[in-house]
């Protein structure tokens, strides 16, 4: 596996993405779901890096930095929502009780 061949990296990215998606679908804990989305984002990052390396372009790394920023913002917002829900008297992290918000 030489440096210019992205296949290995892409396979790892697909595996990572699938694990992340699986995590979102099967975990009921909101924190774990957030983490799973991070995993999916990282999979996307890996794919960009591999592609950038393949064509020797800086775009891949630019996208990586942008996605990391997005991921940070997303987890900040996600954690803030969870904390707010906790502060509002919701003493659980179970995502399936989200349809009982009574809004």
């Amino acid at each position: 596996m030489n440096a210019a061949d992205p296949n290995g990296a892409l396979i790892v990215a697909v595996i990572l993405f699938s694990l992340g998606a699986l995590g979102v679908l099967v975990r009921r804990n909101l924190l774990f779901m957030l983490m799973s989305t991070e995993v999916m984002l990282n999979a996307a990052c890996l794919a960009f890096i591999a592609a950038g390396n393949r064509w020797h372009l800086a775009d891949g790394q630019v996208m990586f930095i942008m996605i990391v920023a997005f991921a940070a913002a997303e987890s900040a917002v996600g954690l803030a929502i969870i904390l707010r829900m906790h502060a509002a008297g919701r003493a659980t992290l179970d995502a399936d009780t989200g349809n009982r918000l009574g809004g």
Binding site: A21, V24, L25, V26, A95, D96, G98, N99, L101
Partner: protein, 625 residues
């Protein structure tokens, strides 16, 4: 055809008063409807009395000033507004007063006034008195529109208006199902006639290009004769249904379910004679279609005999009068069919007097014997209510046509003479009808007023009931003296009045017809006396299958029930869930179902949403690759 002098609104007194004649009852009706029964009974009766009094007063004043005015031989047109203009076709809301509509207007407004005064006393204790008078005054307004309108289209508005009021008033006591059924029957049967009338009107409008009656009379004769004949047949059909002539007569006996003043006003004096009036108004066209005239005469002839036969065996006092109304209307149709317009109109007027009187007297009896209508449960009422008895006797004598002293005699003689001119068969049948008439009405008189008491009469009829009856009693006797045959006295006030419109009175016949016509009613009364004079045992209605058929209107009801009502009910039952509706129901169900199915996706479960997103992405990728 002389051109009709058009007088613009506001120029003459008559032109001002004529719309008011219609407006007075209309306004009373609107006030009564808008107050929704909140007015006390006393205020209601005062309002009705004042409104109808003004209406009658205006009618009399305008009649007087028309007859003394310069146009008394022609017609006076009051154009109120242009109703519609479609291409070459124009319809106006216009009133026209000529000598024919004048007579009819006076009958409707004056007899209407008397009957409404009577009704004020009759209905005083009814909780729905405001609704009653709202309909009654609306009826008078519609009837006056029908009479005065100069455009057939406006006549049709009045025509439908009186039909509607008739329906509403027959079913006035709608709490009882029989009344509602009777009202519906009357509405549906007359609707058959209304449809024919509308078709005839449309045919005339396409053939002539106008529905204005003077134009129709002037241009109509140039239309193709088949079109004209068909049009007149259709109009005749409409008139027949309104006037309860065979074969559309079945609604009238059931219409007696309404309060008695309704029967007096609508089903005796005015609405049922609307057809006669209409045909007399269109006599210029009618005379050009001998086939329609013959049909009219035959219908009248058959109705006279059938209705008189049924009246002979009825037990309900109001049904006797209903059948007698049918029979008397038959005389008018016979007269129209024989071209005797004067005779038809004369009989219309006298009939309005004596039949309204008979209904009023019958109403007084019914009110005082606790709403009993079976004549075999009355008896000996002569001593309990001598004045009502006198009124009923006068009305009966006029209906039977007792010679010389009654109004009915002179009008009936005029019809008999004209019928003889056309065919002796018509004359003989009409004479036999007159014979039956005197038998059945005096059967009623002898059973109700003679013999032992079979019921207890209470109370007295008040002034408001007695006075209209007294006035109509006078008219039922003296009303005939305005037109007498030459053999008795040379008085022709009525025919001279109408001659400018209806043409000269035809030549009279000898005294032999007159003598026969005078003897027949007397013979009828004698027979009635021998059959139903007071005896020791109380009279009972004769019973046999034949008489039961006769009593049930010769089986017409059963026949119509078999061939129209029941098949229609079966069809309606089969199609209870309307098959066209099923199609639209299906579309609605599909939309609703798919909406519900998709709505289930929005469960509020984040993981499920994520799952759907993943599945969607996979599907999109699969499609893309």
């Amino acid at each position: 055809m002389t051109p009709i002098p058009a007088i613009v609104w506001g120029v003459s007194l008559v032109a001002t008063l004529l719309p008011l004649v219609i407006a007075c009852p209309l306004f009373v009706s609107i006030i009564l409807m808008l107050t929704g029964g909140k007015l006390p009974a006393r205020a209601t009766t005062l309002l009705v009395g004042a409104g109808m009094g003004l209406c009658a007063l205006f009618a009399v004043i305008s009649a007087y000033s028309f007859l003394t005015g310069p146009d008394s031989l022609g017609a006076l047109h009051v154009v109120l507004w242009n109703w519609m203009q479609v291409g070459n076709f124009t319809a106006q809301i216009a009133l026209s007063l000529d000598r024919l509509s004048l007579v009819m207007m006076l009958v409707v407004s004056c007899v209407g006034f008397l009957i409404l005064v009577y009704a004020c006393a009759y209905m005083y204790d009814d909780p729905d008195i405001a609704r009653f008078f709202a309909y009654m005054t609306l009826f008078v307004a519609s009837m006056l529109l029908l009479v005065l309108a100069s455009d057939l289209l406006a006549v049709f508005v009045g025509w439908e208006g009186v039909g509607l009021c008739s329906y509403l008033l027959i079913g006035f006591w709608y709490g009882e199902q029989a009344n509602a059924v009777a009202a519906r029957k009357a509405f549906v049967v007359t609707r058959v006639g209304d449809a024919l009338f509308l078709l005839g009107m449309l045919l005339m409008a396409t053939a002539v290009g106008s529905l204005d009656i003077p134009t129709l009379l002037a241009v109509g004769p140039h239309a193709p004769s088949t079109t004209l004949t068909l049009g007149m047949f259709l109009l005749l059909g409409g008139a027949m249904a309104k006037s309860a002539q065979v074969p559309l007569q079945t609604w009238l006996p059931d219409a007696m379910a309404g309060p008695t003043p309704v029967s007096a006003l609508i089903h005796a004096a005015t609405m049922v004679t609307a057809g006669v009036y209409l045909l007399a108004r269109l006599h210029g066209l009618f005379v050009l279609t001998p086939a329609a005239m013959l049909a009219c005469a035959v219908v009248g002839f058959v109705t006279i005999l059938l209705a008189a036969g049924s009246a002979l065996v009825q037990t309900d006092i109001k049904r006797i009068l209903a059948y007698s109304t049918m029979s008397q209307l038959g005389y008018m149709y016979l007269a129209l069919g024989c071209g005797a317009w004067h005779a038809a109109m004369f009989h219309l007027v006298t009939h309005a007097f004596f039949k309204a009187l008979l209904f009023m007297a019958a109403g007084s009896i019914i009110l005082r014997v606790h709403h009993e209508q079976d004549i075999f449960k009355m008896g000996g009422l002569r001593k309990d209510m001598p004045w009502v008895f006198t009124a009923f006797l006068i009305g009966s004598a006029a209906l039977a046509g007792l010679p010389l002293i009654t109004a009915g005699y002179f009008s009936k003689e005029l019809i008999l003479g004209s019928a003889y001119e056309v065919s002796p068969i018509f004359w003989a049948g009409a004479l036999f009808g007159a014979f039956l008439t005197s038998i059945y009405i005096f059967r009623c008189v002898f059973i109700v007023f003679w013999g032992g008491h079979r019921t207890h009469a209470h109370g007295r009829s008040g002034m408001a009931m007695a006075l209209p009856m007294a006035i109509l009693s006078v008219l039922a006797i003296a009303g005939g003296w305005m037109e007498m045959p030459d053999a008795i006295a040379n008085v022709h006030i009525f025919s001279n009045l109408l001659s400018p419109v209806l043409g000269a009175l035809p030549q009279e016949h000898g005294t032999s017809l007159l003598i026969v016509g005078s003897l027949v009613p007397i013979a009828g009364v004698t027979i009635a006396w021998t059959l139903w004079r007071p005896r020791d045992v109380a009279p009972t209605p004769a019973e046999s299958p034949a008489i039961a058929t006769l009593r049930a209107d010769w089986g017409f009801d059963t026949l119509y029930d078999r061939i129209f009502v029941r098949p229609f009910m079966v069809l309606a039952h089969l199609n209870r869930r309307d098959f066209i509706d099923r199609f639209y129901d299906l579309i609605a169900a599909l939309t609703q179902g798919s909406g519900q199915a998709i709505a289930r996706l929005q469960s509020g479960q984040v993981r499920r949403y994520a799952g759907w997103i993943a599945a969607g992405t996979v599907a999109a990728l699969c499609l893309a690759v």
